[in-house]
């Protein structure tokens, strides 16, 4: 407890007796050399000091106590209220008057000073919060600033911010200070949301009536409940956004001016919650538009990627049936081999579509374990068609640490990159798979000597259904391979990007945290 709090707790009067008594004890030995007037003069600074530290009432009490002390101990006859000379009466009365006046004046100054300090604090608080509000901070950090400021500046023991849910109940967004004490907090917050009234908001003379929300006592809101704090509805012109709750320290109220400050913070919090709601609505409608666009692309891509190989197979097979028995065996073989290739393409397109939708709907969560990168690359290497295998070299240092990954997903991601590199470069060009540790990350890359990726497409290549715009040959594919890579790497807490290779070529780099953050 700070000293000023201690003084407040003493209620002023014991302190007054203590200080006046001590001063009297010090002055008493000099009674023979000091005149009563001089003694009175010496009491004045003490009374002014008490006025500064403990307020008007204490200073008046001190003035009375000092007058009594002078009367009893310094004006003859000692130890009697009565005095010998009528002039001394006048002096005593004058002293009392001056002392009270000095105390009153000082006390008022003290009040004004305090109010000014309080105002300053309040303005600083509002400045801090409003500058955060415009600085596009994240929802979490803004919400937590609000409740922390309420605790720190308003001297609350606990503060909580509730947001209104679409179902008209309250949802806790942030809290600070002591933990929730009872079960009624949430129920009362719900009540405030539904009734748009404050609960247990202390009245305050410095808040104009029209700015004060309608307030009720806790047991008026929910019978049988006792509010240990104040619930303020967060109103904006568009309606109610949430509830701000502040619980004062046990036994003490909020700071002086607390009601006004709480309402000021509540206004800001309301603006913040309104902005948050509007942003969410905007994001949602963007997501809807994006998802509509993707659905349209999906339908066209699906119909193209699935129907093309199917049409080819159908044409070949019905062709063979048409030709009947007379068909030459070598031709049957070659037609069937071609049909089989088309079917593989169909299978891989279906696989891409299924995987991308599983990744996006979170139905394919990583199931990580500790593996050596080499093990994963062994599986990747085995998947490469035998005819292409000689083009791919693996340059992996032998002493790589184990990584915490989903084996199947990582193998899929690296294989997609290798497959892309093989597809987009000509058959005599090599493809290199490499790896190294950089800081806390494992880098794995797939490098080719093809035309490379133009600067402006380096981001877009990872978008769904994006097909390179370059004039070169555009091999068959769903345009989902790299999107799948990005989703997989993301779910492992890593990144993927593409670099240039000199003199020409592209290097796709996966960076995976070695600590492992796959969820």
């Amino acid at each position: 407890m700070r000293p000023s709090r201690l003084l407040t707790a003493l209620g002023g009067y014991p302190l007054v007796l203590l200080v006046v008594g001590a001063a009297t004890a010090i002055l008493l030995p000099f009674r023979s050399v000091l005149s009563p007037a001089q003694v009175m003069l010496l009491y004045v600074p003490i009374i002014v000091g008490l006025a500064r530290s403990s307020g008007v009432r204490a200073s008046v009490a001190a003035a009375v106590a000092a007058t009594l002390a002078v009367d009893l101990l310094f004006v003859p006859p000692y130890y009697h209220i009565t005095v010998a000379s009528p002039v001394d009466w006048v002096t005593l009365v004058l002293f009392l008057g001056v002392a009270v006046a000095a105390g009153l004046q000082t006390g008022r100054m003290r009040q004004r000073e305090r109010a000014a300090v309080q105002r300053q604090r309040e303005i600083a608080l509002l400045n801090r919060l409003s500058s955060r509000l415009v600085s596009e901070e994240s929802v979490e950090s803004m919400a937590s600033s609000i409740v922390h400021e309420v605790v720190a500046v308003l001297g609350a023991d606990r503060a909580a911010l509730f947001v209104r849910t679409p179902g008209d109940s309250s949802e806790l967004l942030a809290q600070a200070g002591a933990p929730e004490a009872g079960l009624t907090e949430h129920a009362l917050a719900d009540w405030v949301i539904r009734n748009d009234k404050a609960v247990a908001l202390p009245s305050s003379e410095d808040v104009p009536v029209e700015l004060r929300p309608v307030t009720v006592a806790a047991d008026e809101a929910l019978s049988g409940t006792v509010a240990d704090g104040t619930f303020v509805p967060l109103q904006t012109p568009d309606g109610l956004e949430g509830v701000l709750y502040a619980r004062p320290l046990a036994g003490a109220g909020l700071h002086r001016g607390g009601t006004r400050q709480l309402l000021a913070v509540a206004n800001l919090a309301a603006v913040f919650l309104e902005r948050r709601r509007l942003e969410q609505a905007a994001a949602h409608s963007n997501a809807l538009r994006e998802s509509d666009r993707l659905k349209a692309t999906l339908v066209s891509s699906v119909s193209h990627e699935l129907k093309t190989p199917l049409a080819a197979v159908m044409a070949r097979v019905t062709g063979l049936i048409e030709e009947g028995e007379g068909c030459d065996a070598a031709r049957v073989q070659s037609e069937l081999a071609a049909a089989s290739e088309d079917l593989h393409r169909l299978d891989s397109s279906i696989r891409d579509l299924v995987d991308v939708s599983r990744l996006e709907s979170d139905a394919w969560r990583p199931k990580p374990d500790l593996y050596e990168l080499g093990e994963v690359l062994g599986t990747v290497a085995e998947r490469i068609p035998v005819s292409q295998r000689a083009r791919v070299t693996f340059e992996v240092p032998p002493d790589l640490p184990e990584v915490w990954v989903d084996f199947a997903q990582l193998a899929r991601a690296i294989y997609n990159l290798v497959e892309n590199a093989l597809l987009y470069t000509s058959v005599e060009e090599p493809v290199t798979v490499g790896a190294r540790v950089l800081g806390g990350d494992l880098l794995v890359w797939v490098e080719d000597r093809g035309p490379g990726i133009p600067e402006e497409e380096k981001q877009q290549v990872f978008e769904k259904f994006y097909r390179g715009s370059t004039s070169g040959p555009s091999p068959a594919g769903t345009g989902l391979g790299l999107a799948i890579v990005r989703e997989i790497v993301r779910s492992h807490g890593g990144h993927v990007w593409v670099d240039d290779v000199q003199p020409s070529g592209a290097r796709f780099v996966l960076s995976l945290p070695l600590g492992g953050t796959a969820t």
Partner: protein, 242 residues
């Protein structure tokens, strides 16, 4: 695809296909009959179990998604008395089902869609093993790797490689079951004994050492591949299945 070791019709192995999809049953029937296997087909689990009891097949192909009882349940029921190979068919990425099927005693699994080459290779491998014709295999060769099971000797590109007893046992077991997934549990039970069936960490360490000795430099295994969550698979000499 040429047709080696085509069995003669009268002594030809009998294969039971349990799959609810008519197209798969038809395709397998025609592929297998073309290789002179005798084929029974069942569309439900119960039908499959009763057919298996009527004519004990030499091999069972079992789809895991069946309309009446689950394929896993069928595998468990069959395993009580049936000792022949069971090859499980599953859709892609149903890893948990695959592992469960292997643990219940299925011998192998194949992911749909599969090529005729793949399934025929598995069938031949399993039938060789159960018919005892495999017992004479003394030396297994894959790429540069030669494993002499009788002499317990291994060479890579002609150079002898020294393996510890455990490493050799692991390699020999994997190579005998080449191109099939061998579960960690099976490796642990056969190499260390039944009490060690869950010590996969130890197994991983030994496999890692084994790889350092037999795999090509560069840390990317070619012979012993990891089957995540299941076990390991030895890659024999490869033929392109397509």
């Amino acid at each position: 695809m040429n047709i080696p070791n085509t069995p003669s019709p009268e002594r030809s192995p009998r294969i039971l296909v349990i799959d609810d999809e008519e197209q798969i049953r038809r395709a397998l029937r025609s592929i297998l009959q073309a290789r002179h296997y005798r084929v029974d087909t069942a569309a439900t689990g119960e039908e499959g179990v009763s057919l298996a009891m009527d004519h004990t097949p030499d091999l069972i192909i079992l789809d895991l998604t069946l309309p009446d009882i689950s394929g896993l349940e069928v595998a468990a029921q069959l395993r009580v008395w049936y000792e022949g190979p069971i090859v499980v068919l599953s859709v892609r990425d149903a890893d948990a089902d695959k592992i469960a099927a292997l643990d219940l005693g299925a011998d192998d699994y194949l992911t749909k869609p599969f090529s005729a080459g793949e399934i025929l290779a598995r069938i031949r491998a399993h039938l060789r093993r159960t018919s005892g014709t495999e017992a004479s295999v003394r030396v297994i060769t894959a790429g540069n790797l030669v494993i002499d099971l009788a002499k317990r000797a291994v060479t890579v590109a002609g150079r002898p490689v020294h393996l510890t007893r455990t490493e050799f046992d692991i390699l020999a077991l994997l190579a005998r079951y080449a191109d099939r997934v061998v579960t960690s549990r099976m490796l642990l039970e056969q190499v260390w004994g039944p009490d060690y069936a869950s010590d996969t960490q130890t197994l991983r360490v030994h496999v890692s050492h084994l790889r350092q000795k037999i795999e090509p430099a560069g840390g990317v295994p070619r012979y012993v591949l990891t089957e995540p969550g299941v076990g390991f698979r030895f890659v024999g000499d490869q033929e392109e299945h397509s």
